[in-house]
Amino acid sequence: MLIASAGNVLVWIVWIVAAFACLGSGIAVVSFSNPFYSALALIGNLGSLAVLYLLLNAEFVAAAQVLVYAGAVMVMFLFVIAYIGPRTESPWMGGPSWQAAGAVLAAGALLVEIVVVIGLKASGHLAHSEHVDRTFGTPAYIGRLFLTDHLLAFEITSIVLLVAAIGGVILGAHSRRSPEEVPSL
């Protein structure tokens, strides 16, 4: 019993740390002047989101999040940023102040919208906890959903990704060929 409640406290501590890390790194993404640090903060943000998924029994989603987003996608971001070189000027410096005001207004509107939607739609469901199956969130369960209920979306996504991959190859091959077409001196 003591250990069970200790586990509960541990879950709360992890949740609070992950939630604040998520918010903190999100703010850090837009406030760093160096894009490399922004990208690092974005990795932290994606990582702390993965921790939140873990707390919700979504092990597979958490691992996929780290593998695909925090891993593969962000590596590409860092690669490009490190290649292009550091730009130390802050993106917001010298910008018109109405942009900042507009961004704050838009963010505020979004926040109000989210709170209202959650309040209207989920007010009754938030009070009591839902029973979750042991199989919920396992790779087998998600795979079955992909191949039954969400087959069309799954297949369309794969075609879109395939088209994007082929497009990337064609663009890359084109730019590689062009120096040879230029007559050398």
Binding site: G47, E59, V66, A72, V75, L78, F79, P139
Partner: protein
């Protein structure tokens, strides 16, 4: 998730495993130097202790006692954290690798792995993909051209070969019908060791492992003649030591993963020796990796890339598709 095992047993086990892995790392460096020496008709380390057995300890003392300085232009915080990320992810990956069937000690059941998670395999790949940041961030934070070029190469190479690495084990996942490493090992114990039906997968996995650990002949990220030492050019003392530790532990972990996925983990052909079989198989695989290093010269960068994308990836994809068809057909 931990099958009725009290949390403190997991904790003790984790501490033991981390120390064992560090010990294994220390003596892998010894084994590598000794084997490389013998393969090149030298003696290798033979001064510190009998057979040079105390050499890793001497190296450790030397590295720790070195003055830890860094380039003036380096970005300190990130520069210091980078080797820690590399080592942390390397060590953490070992948590899901099963090394025994589990034992009854006094009246507690002790599992043969630290954490038995349903997504063990994906977790290892996820940790591996985070481990890349150690190299990239370290190279970038050093503010040196060699380091930056080294980390660019590391990044391109590791991302390229990660695709083949993940695809090569898809066949094993399909045959084992699980992403849980314990289930995969048990399945092999009950049916057949997967290296026989998955030979193509094993070969792709093996080459991808050499590339992922950036060992010769795929050690382009730290090609000495071109890049001095790649992403860790500006690192010295124990910070450099952490990068090296991470590299060797990755090699041990991936060998252990190969044993788990293709050679039935702790199962042996005859006597039920449990973890000893596991250790023996990992030892053999690590020795083969060292042997390859001694035998094959370094590839050119374009050869490395075309080998990864034009040879390994198609083979891995074909292997996965054919395995999927066969698994459905047999069912």
């Amino acid at each position: 998730m931990n099958n009725g095992e009290p949390w403190w047993i997991s904790l003790i086990k984790a501490a033991i495993i981390v120390n064992l892995v560090m010990l294994a790392f220390a003596y892998t460096t010894w084994l590598e130097r000794k084997l490389l020496g013998r393969l090149q008709l030298r003696y290798g380390p033979n001064r510190a202790g009998p057979f040079g057995l105390l050499q890793p300890i001497a190296d450790l003392i030397k590295l720790i006692r070195k003055e830890s300085f860094f380039p003036v232009a380096a970005r300190d915080s990130v520069y210091i954290v980078a080797p820690v990320i590399a080592l942390f992810t390397a060590l953490a990956a070992f948590a899901v690798i099963p090394f025994g069937a589990g034992w009854q000690i006094w009246h507690y059941h002790v599992n043969g792995e630290i954490a038995n998670v349903s997504i063990g395999l994906i977790l290892i790949f996820a940790l591996g993909s985070v481990g890349v940041y150690g190299a990239i961030v370290g190279g970038w934070a050093s503010e040196s051209k060699f380091s930056l070029l080294g980390s660019m190469r590391t990044c391109a190479q590791l991302v390229s070969y990660e695709v083949s690495l993940a695809l090569s084990v898809l066949g094993v996942v399909l045959m084992g019908q699980s992403l849980n490493l314990v289930d995969i090992v048990n399945k092999q114990g009950a049916t057949i060791w997967f290296f026989i039906p998955q030979l193509a997968g094993l070969l792709v996995f093996f080459f991808a492992v050499i590339a992922e650990t950036s060992r010769p002949p795929f050690d382009l990220p730290e090609a000495d003649t071109e890049l001095v030492a790649g992403y860790h050019t500006e690192y010295g003392g124990m910070r450099w030591g952490l990068f090296q530790t991470a590299e060797y532990i990755n090699m041990i972990t991936l060998s252990a993963l190969a044993v788990t996925l293709f050679f039935a983990g702790w199962h042996g052909p005859w006597a039920p020796l449990g973890p000893l079989w596991f250790l023996l198989k990992v030892f053999v695989l690590v020795s083969i990796l060292i042997w390859v290093r001694a035998s094959v010269p370094r590839l050119r960068y374009d050869q490395l890339m075309s080998f990864g994308w034009k040879v390994l990836l198609p083979i891995a994809t074909l292997n996965a598709v054919i395995t999927a068809l066969l698994v459905v057909w047999v069912d």
